[in-house]
């Protein structure tokens, strides 16, 4: 296996592309978890985003509307998680799993109601990739980095923006306080309930956008189980990045790279059963997490519902 294969520009370009939905979803989840809510429904949320977004984009032929619809729909799911987890103080994990399953079923139901049996599967035009003048001219890295769809740039732009928001602004400070010690924040007049609701809803919307990314930029069509476990990976990227926006990037890239690489390897190593390569991303993910979990320090109040009147 030659070195050229590992650094082949088209491979890297694809890796960067496929890392984006992971990263975006991870950022959404990060906002939610920083406020003290655990959302394990990402996989379901992403597929709702993919389904709803695709439907709207198909009928309006407009990616903007598609994105907005995806975000709105998933924001609704986020609100639902909030209602159970914050207002009713339910076990966020169990409710999250319920929403995850709900999210698996809903989009294919809607898709089916929208289009009956079709000779040719409905298709939308992909978001065009826009090459940044001059930069994309740079040999080798130009096409890899600067010839991507808008959403890719936006996602990577969101990383510094989010870290600035979290660590340099009053709202960010209060948001983190909700995740660390809600009672303390509450005694200082931070509105825990409102903050957490805002976080689940906004975070969910972002996750929805991440879901829409797949049909809008990769496949142009919607199929059941289109997310294929990426939501679960995103969930882990948050821990991988120790709840810091920037640190999630490397994880997203790593996973996307290995995922893209496996098919190259499969072409060369004929004697090896392809399934072996297909398990590669998941096994690598597990191995990586073994290291990560040693030093993972989650927000102190993660998964703890807040009840001001609770004693002590």
């Amino acid at each position: 296996m030659s070195f050229e294969l590992l650094v082949d520009p088209s491979l890297l370009q694809l890796a960067l592309l496929m890392s984006t939905p992971l990263l975006l979803a991870a950022l959404g989840e990060l906002i939610i978890e920083r406020s003290g809510i655990l959302n394990v429904a990402i996989e379901g949320m992403m597929s709702v985003g993919a389904g709803v977004g695709f439907l709207v984009a198909f009928f309006t032929e407009d990616h903007l509307l598609g994105s907005l619809a995806a975000m709105a729909a998933v924001a609704l799911m986020g609100w639902l998680l909030g209602y159970y987890g914050i207002t009713l103080r339910a076990n966020q994990l169990i409710i999250g799993l319920g929403l995850f399953i709900f999210g698996l079923g809903l989009p294919s139901l809607l898709y089916r109601i929208a289009f009956g049996p079709q000779m040719v599967a409905p298709r939308i035009d992909l978001m065009p990739s826009l090459a940044i003048p001059f930069l994309s001219e740079i040999p080798y890295i130009g096409p890899v980095l600067f010839d991507q769809p808008l959403l890719v740039y936006l996602t990577y732009l969101l990383v510094p923006v989010l870290s600035f928001f979290l660590f340099r602004t009053p709202l960010g400070l209060q948001l983190r306080a909700c995740g660390e010690n809600p009672r303390a924040a509450d005694t200082l007049g931070v509105n825990i309930i409102a903050t957490r609701y805002a976080c689940v809803i906004i975070g969910a919307a972002i996750i929805g956008l991440a879901g829409y990314f797949i049909p809008a930029i990769v496949t142009a069509t919607y199929t059941d189980n289109i997310i294929g476990g990426r939501g679960w990976i995103a969930l882990q990227l948050v821990i991988f990045g120790r709840w810091l926006p920037g640190a999630s990037i490397s994880g997203a890239l790593l996973f996307a790279y290995i995922e893209a690489l496996q098919y190259r390897l499969a072409l060369i190593a004929k004697s090896v059963p392809p399934q072996l390569f297909q398990t590669l991303p998941y096994i690598v993910a597990i191995l990586v997490m073994i290291q990560v979990y040693q030093r993972a320090e989650k927000p102190a109040a993660l998964m703890q519902p807040y009840n001001r009147e609770a004693r002590g």
Binding site: D8, S10, L11, L14, M18, S108, Y111, R112, F115, G116, P117, Q118, M119, V120, A121, R123, L126, I214, V218, T219, A220, T221, T223, D224, N225, I226, G228, E259, A260, Y263, R264, A266, L267, K270, S271, P273, P274, Q275, Q278
Partner: protein, 336 residues
């Protein structure tokens, strides 16, 4: 809390336990009826614009041509197939079509149990010692694959053609082999690269696999995936240099008009209608070869010189009349 819930459960369990009593009253397992009623059981959603949608279409044809009552169940997991079939039988359906080979167990179990119901099941190679009430549709994809391989070999400029399928099934391996055979006949130096994504219906994987092939210099891709195909289309459309492709089951060229060469269409109406007709005549067993000429046909051709189009059509007709007979090798891939 717990105590009360417990009682609730007991009640539920009791309910379940009592129901069969009601059950025996309402229906008897072996109800007879003369009219032919056809039920189609499909593994996937009929909105897949593919295998299951074709099954659905075929069922309409059967209903029209044979003037029989029909019903269908889609997205039936193998685990549920037998159950669903029994429910149809309980509702006096006497022809059960299993839309795919994964239902072989269900078919065999039921065939023994319900001699007066006829079953239709697909498979890749003929089922040995077929029960007297089972029709067996044997699909011979590799024959079609041979034609596509020949075409690809004539179209490629880089001398590399790709074969892309989802699950590494024996008859999908057979296709790879016949593609290789055909290409070799055209030009021994042509390299055939194949890849299995592990899922017939995952366009994301398909996209990545196709990208990998294109990076390897492949410029004609023979796609043998179902919903996954859209991923291949996007990969082909995204690549800077012209990469052409073919697919099967339905004509999808409108989604990538510049890239599609041809599609191998499957008209399941032909076999299903034929078999149901036979059953109406009282012939409740037999083997139907699903191959060029009987259900498999070529779509219009695009993006190719007339000469090649002509040779493709002639090769196809030779396949139809068995003037060309590709070797069937489901054992292992040509280069292993």
């Amino acid at each position: 809390m717990k105590a009360k819930v417990r009682l609730f459960c007991l009640v539920l369990v009791l309910m379940i336990a009592l129901v069969p009593l009601a059950g025996c009253a309402t229906s008897s397992p072996q109800a007879k009826s003369t009219a032919v009623r056809v039920a189609l059981i499909m593994p996937g959603p009929i909105s897949d614009s593919d295998w299951n949608m074709l099954g659905y279409e075929a069922l309409q044809v059967v209903a029209k041509e044979q003037e029989v009552e029909t019903a269908y169940s889609e997205k039936i997991a193998v685990a549920d197939a037998e159950r669903v079939a029994r429910e149809y039988i309980a509702e006096d359906y006497n022809v059960i079509i299993f839309h795919g080979g994964q239902f072989v167990t269900a078919t065999m179990n039921l065939a023994g149990e319900y001699p007066d119901v006829t079953f239709i099941m697909g498979s890749a190679t003929p089922v040995p010692d077929l029960p007297p009430n089972v029709w067996n549709m044997v699909r011979r994809y590799y024959k079609g694959g041979y034609a596509l391989g020949d075409l690809a070999a004539r179209m490629t400029k880089t001398g590399k053609i790709g074969y892309l399928a989802g699950v590494q099934l024996p008859d999908f391996m057979a296709i790879a082999n016949s593609v290789h055979e055909a290409a070799g006949k055209v030009d021994p130096n042509i390299e055939v690269i194949y890849s299995f994504t592990g899922d017939q219906n995952d366009p994301v994987k398909a996209r990545q696999a196709a990208d990998a092939m294109i990076a390897e210099g492949v410029d004609v891709i023979i796609d043998w995936m179902n919903a996954g195909v859209s991923g291949v289309e996007e990969a082909v459309l995204a690549s800077d240099d012209v990469v052409l492709m073919t697919t099967f089951s339905t004509d999808k060229h409108e989604r990538a008009p510049e890239r599609y060469l041809v599609s191998m269409l499957l008209d399941l109406g032909v076999p299903y209608s034929f078999m149901v007709g036979e059953i109406k005549q009282g012939k409740t067993t037999g083997v139907f070869d699903f191959e060029p000429g009987s259900g498999m046909l070529l779509s219009p051709t695009y993006n190719m010189p007339d000469g090649i189009a002509a040779s493709l059509k002639s090769l196809w007709s030779q396949l139809e009349n068995d003037e060309v007979i590709p070797t069937e090798n489901t054992e292992k891939l040509f280069d292993q």
